[in-house]
Amino acid sequence: MIPATVVFVYLAAVLAIGILARTTALRSGSDRAAEDFFLAGRSLGPAVFLLSLFGANMTAFSILGASGHAFANGIVTYGLMASSSALIIPLSLFAIGTRLWALGKRHGFMTPVQMFRDRWQCGHIGTVIFVVQAVLLVPYIVIAVMGGGTTLAAVSGGRVPFWIGGGVVSLVVMGYVFFGGMRGTAWVNAFQTVLFLSFGTIAVAVIAAGMGGFTRAMESMLASPSTAPLLTRERVSPAYFFSYTFIPLSSIAFPHIGIFCLTARRLEHFRRTIVLYPVCMIAIWLPSVFLGVAANRATELPAIASKIEARATLAASGPALDDAARGRLRAQASGDDVVLKLVEGYAPVWLASLLGAAVMAAVMASDSQILALSTMFTEDVFTFYRGTSRFGQAVQVQTGRAFVVLLTLIAYGIALKVPQSIFDLATQYAFAGYAALSPLLVAALFWRRSTKWGALAVTIWTAAAVAAVAVLQTIVPAPPPGAIVTLVSLGGTDLIARAAQGALVLGMLPVVPMTLVSALLMIVVSRLTADAVPPPATLSRYFSS
């Protein structure tokens, strides 16, 4: 019960941080209530800006999913997800984030859609972009509620049931977002990032000692034909590896990251964030991936041994099994909790307790998404359709708070009713969807001749492509690991296929054609609708000459 107690203490601490943020906001006596609540008054300092922006990008997926992926797929996980993000996310902050910040400061934008509406002189097309962005963001919030329920149930040994755990996490996140707004969210994110960073180092040292040193573990893995490939990338094709470099394009297109870019007090605060972002990536991802790989040698731990056994059964006799049996084996082999199991097996209770809190921090990273959706609703819908001019800023903030409560309750309700696997898939679609929306930002900020019709084409294409991938993956069940079901081929080349990890287009993730077609649509449709290019007065706000 000690781990559960530590987790509850942690939850109380983050709630207190949210309330403290509200006290600070009230003391500042800002007369711009909406900007203060939704953007922390555009006043975040360099350290909180770096840690909170990084924390907002780190979801449960980064900590637990990375280890789980590495447990099954080996060291390739780091190259697929970490080193490409370490290059592309800071570059997008440099090129796009700084410009969003400047435009927000100059023209008072609080969401990306506000900027799109002004840039392309469009109203309802902005509403379409809002709807697509919102639909792609909701699964994250549901996943966080589920993660909270599962983690609390696990660390309490089942004494706290899933529905109570999910409810408690929902209440805490809702509480500090409701009271603290962006300031509370940023402070909690910064606190969580520090917790991740500290935990990673301690966990690696303790687990290394418990396993008798990593050298022995690696040599032993290399000696076994079943585990040696996990230390190379031979099971992944170079085309598939390359296609993953498109995924980090989604980061800057996520509304919560775009909105975070507006919170820095000064442009200079981006400098340290851009340079240190890769350092934070390596500090969190290298231990997560390495521990996930090394877990394959922790066969003396029964929980891990049963995962390895399930994986072996799946590989050996997967095609002969029915879907239900395959699904059960897949769930048993899932490595999302391998780091938890390693710490349980090798670390003392106090460290396992801290781990519970760190995992809690990871699964609760939905706060910035909840706040972003609330900001988007109040700014892109409530204010746009004259709510603020009619009722004032105080009512706007209260509407934002009511939206936070409503959204959390809906997410909680869905989390109790729908299986998690559906939302795991949905978050995969979201990454591809937001990457495919990234040409909107590039065109708005760097191409004068882009038009609102190009933006509409990109948005509709993204929604249609995400829906098509979702339908395809639902209709065609996942084959066993390693097998590929060809759906469309031409001249012996697989055009569209289904693998265990999802749909493939020319052996690559669907995000590649989705993003390239988006960019092409922006160019072609804007060229065809050249008369819709905004007037010079508008363009002068975005381009210097």
Partner: protein, 54 residues
């Protein structure tokens, strides 16, 4: 830097184990991450869009 991410040269190699435990492919990408930080440091130093703050 984008091209260097596609390191086909260590695709099927696990050895040498750097520091006795890091497979060479993982060590390469960890080093790549550090090199990225250095490149970004140079970028913000030399090409910082200071005009945006005006």
């Amino acid at each position: 830097m984008y091209v260097l991410h596609q390191d086909f040269w260590f695709w099927r190699e696990a050895r040498p184990l750097v520091f006795g435990f890091l497979p060479i492919g993982l060590f390469y990408h960890a080093s790549y991450t550090i090199a990225t930080a250095v490149m970004l440091w140079w970028l913000v130093r030399r090409h910082w869009p200071a005009h945006l703050a005006e």
